[in-house]
């Protein structure tokens, strides 16, 4: 199991974490959508890990992979945001993230089609959403991205 979140991942008073503002997000391609993952919750980006499916599991759970010598549950982000599947990705990646509330967060893998870039998503720009896993949508560089609330992932899953 991955170790719990370190204090360095906690935002400062200005809302910054590690020199970057809390608005920094990792933009990933999930099906037809571009999703924004809060960068403070992202542990690692690796090439798509080999996944061992779990029989009888939920459709969003692709299976278990091995990361750092530990089993890592891998979720399909596109299915979680109900995105239509896109073309076969050229370089699919697995994004290792901290999920769940801060006091009980767990490391998990998100299977996405591609890791695009790091971008700023001001919280004020986030609109819509219900405050759950899908926090809302925000315009980034002329396109609409879906902002993911990884803290809510543990509760909903």
């Amino acid at each position: 199991m991955i170790a719990p979140a370190t204090p360095s991942n906690t935002p400062d008073a200005a809302g910054r974490m590690g020199g970057l503002s809390t608005g920094s997000h990792l933009l990933v391609q999930a099906g037809e959508y571009v999703c924004a993952l809060p960068l403070v919750s992202v542990r690692r980006v690796v090439r798509a890990l080999p996944v061992h499916p779990l029989p009888g599991s939920a459709p969003e759970l692709e299976g278990l992979a091995e990361f750092g010598g530990e089993p890592l549950p891998v979720l399909n982000l596109a299915r979680m945001v109900n995105a239509a599947p896109g073309a076969n990705p050229a370089y699919p990646v697995t994004v290792v993230v901290w999920a769940g509330p801060a006091e009980a967060r767990e490391i998990m893998g998100l299977s996405v089609d591609a890791a695009l870039e790091v971008a700023e998503v001001p919280p004020a720009s986030v609109v819509g959403g219900g405050g759950g896993f899908l926090l809302g949508e925000a315009p980034v560089a002329g396109r609409v991205v879906r902002v993911i609330n990884l803290e809510a992932l543990g509760r909903e899953s």
Partner: protein, 560 residues
């Protein structure tokens, strides 16, 4: 020839020296005259001897005795004989006159050609003279009949010769026409042969030139084949090089893929660096900038790789197009090569065929020239044959004319022979007189006409029979329907318009009251020629009733 039954013997001792005297008178007359002449001669000789006086006395006595004996003999034999002769002389003269009259009448009948009536007259002559005359008449009659038969045979032979000559002339004419046609055909054949020879010579020249052209063409095609083979080799080399380029392009693709993977890894690495920078807090701010630059670098690398990939795609497309083009070019070159080889083979065959054609054409030319020469000889021969045939045709026509003349001569001889009235069924005069005797028994004109019609129908060579009375009135007219057929002929009523008294046969018979024969003349019935045999007809009281005539067509007289 038939020899006469009785030869005329002038020196026959049975014939009296003086016609009309009995035999004994003739014999005595001989003795008396001989004795008297002997006495006269002796007397004259003795008297001369006595007168000269040169002889002995006994000689005077001898000659005196002879003279006395002669006088006595004269008194005994000569004088009575001549007295008797003088007494019988008037009777003998009358008998002699009668004999002379009968002989004259007989000779007159003979002169008229009527041997029958001449025979009637000679029958009344003394037996031996009658026999001799009958023998002469028989010989003449036999001769006339033989002449008749011979004339018929001559005419028949002439007809046959004429027919054969006509057939041969017709055949010769056709042969001459055929020869002319054959000659024209041979001349045309000769001309055609000349044209063929010229054409064959021209053909041989053309074929020779074609053969030479074929050799040049064959060499050119062989060169073209070599050129195409070289082009095919070069195209194959281009294809190999293009294939090598394609292989190289795949290697470039693999390198680009590797570069792309490296860029992607770099991209991921830059993202992880950014993540680590966030985790590092404020200390990681510069590191995040570096990470961002690295990410940008990775992104540019990806973009460059994409550009190179696009260029490489275009290059690969060109390479593939080049390969396809070279493959098509190679195939086309192969086809061209195959066609060129086929063309070379065809040209070679054509060249050989041209050579064969040239040789055959020269042979044809020589053969046609020989044929032309042979045709000229045949034409010359045919012209000679044509001349011979024409001469033969002319000769046959002359022969036909000669046969016609011979036939006419036969008819003339027949008419001359028929001018004799013979006691023979072949004698026309005799036949017509017999018909006249049958007509004498007819009581009415109808019976006469029926009898005449029966006689005409029974006689195959009689074309027409008719009877005219003493006034020239035509009583009966009968046609032989087997000869006349359906030709339009004069009816009895139409024929009565002709004045029969002016007809030569009628006038002759009326005048001479004997059978007559005319020369051939143009028929009143048709355009042919006939001759008429006519004879008098008498009544039961031997009065002259009219003239019976029959017409015989000269075309059928040989059936007599």
């Amino acid at each position: 020839m038939v020899e006469p039954d009785v030869a005329v013997r002038v020196s026959d001792p049975g014939i009296p020296v003086i016609p009309g005297l009995p035999d004994w008178a003739s014999r005595h007359a001989d003795n008396a005259l001989a004795g008297w002449l002997m006495v006269v001669a002796l007397t004259v000789v003795g008297s001369l001897l006595l007168y000269l006086g040169g002889g002995p006395a006994w000689t005077r006595l001898v000659f005196l005795g002879i003279g006395v004996a002669g006088i006595a003999a004269y008194g005994v034999w000569v004088y009575p004989f001549f007295r008797n002769l003088e007494r019988k002389l008037p009777q003998n003269m009358e008998r002699w006159t009668q004999l002379e009259t009968r002989l004259i009448a007989s000779f007159e009948q003979l002169g008229a050609g009527d041997l029958v009536r001449a025979g009637e007259h000679t029958a009344k002559l003394p037996a031996r003279l009658s026999k001799v005359s009958a023998a002469a008449s028989g010989s003449l009659s036999s001769l006339a009949q033989q002449i008749q038969d011979s004339s018929i045979e001559v005419a028949s032979a002439a007809d046959a010769v004429n027919q054969v000559a006509s057939d041969l002339a017709s055949g010769s004419s056709e042969q001459a026409a055929s020869v002319v046609e054959i000659t024209a055909a041979m001349e045309e054949l000769a001309r055609t042969a000349s044209q063929i020879a010229e054409s064959a010579t021209t053909q041989a020249d053309l074929a020779s030139r074609a053969e030479a052209s074929g050799e040049s063409g064959s060499e050119a095609v062989f060169e073209a084949v070599a050129g195409v083979e070289e082009v095919q080799k070069r195209i194959s080399a281009i294809a190999n090089r293009a294939d090598t380029l394609g292989t190289r392009s795949k290697e470039i693709y693999r390198v680009l893929e590797l570069i792309n993977e490296i860029a992607q890894e770099t991209h991921i690495l830059s993202l992880n660096a950014a993540i680590e920078a966030v985790a590092a807090g404020a200390e990681g701010r510069r590191f995040s900038v570096v990470a961002e630059e690295v990410r940008h670098l990775a992104q540019r690398s990806q973009e460059s790789v994409e550009s190179v990939r696009n260029l490489l795609d275009e290059f690969s497309g060109s390479i593939r197009a080049t390969i396809v083009a070279t493959e098509e070019g190679s195939k086309e070159a192969a086809r061209v090569l195959e066609r060129s080889r086929a063309a070379a083979s065809a040209i070679d065959e054509l060249r050989q065929a041209s050579g064969d054609t040239s040789r055959v054409a020269r042979q044809i030319s020589m053969a046609t020239q020989q044929q032309n020469a042979a045709s000229d000889e045949v034409v010359m021969t045919l012209r000679e044959v044509s001349l011979v045939v024409q001469r033969m045709t002319g000769g046959l026509k002359n022969l036909s004319g000669t046969a016609d003349r011979l036939n006419s001569l036969g008819l003339t001889i027949q008419l001359l022979a028929q001018s004799f009235h013979l006691d023979s069924p072949r004698s026309l005069k005799h036949m017509v007189e017999d018909w006249g005797k049958e007509l004498e028994r007819a009581a009415t004109s109808t019976e006469l006409e029926d009898t005449l019609d029966r006689l005409v129908q029974q006689t195959p060579f009689i074309e027409l029979g008719y009877f005219a009375d003493t006034t020239g009135y035509l009583v009966a007219l009968c046609y032989n329907r087997a000869l006349t057929g359906n030709r339009p002929l004069l009816s009895l009523v139409q024929a009565r318009e002709i004045d029969m008294t002016q007809r030569p046969w009628y006038r002759t018979v009326s005048r001479e009251r004997r059978a007559a024969l005319t020369q051939p003349y143009e028929s009143l019935q048709h355009t042919g020629h006939v001759f008429t045999v006519a004879a008098p007809v008498y009544g039961r009281d031997r009065t002259f009733k009219g003239v019976l005539g029959v017409d015989i067509n000269v075309g059928g007289w040989t059936r007599i």
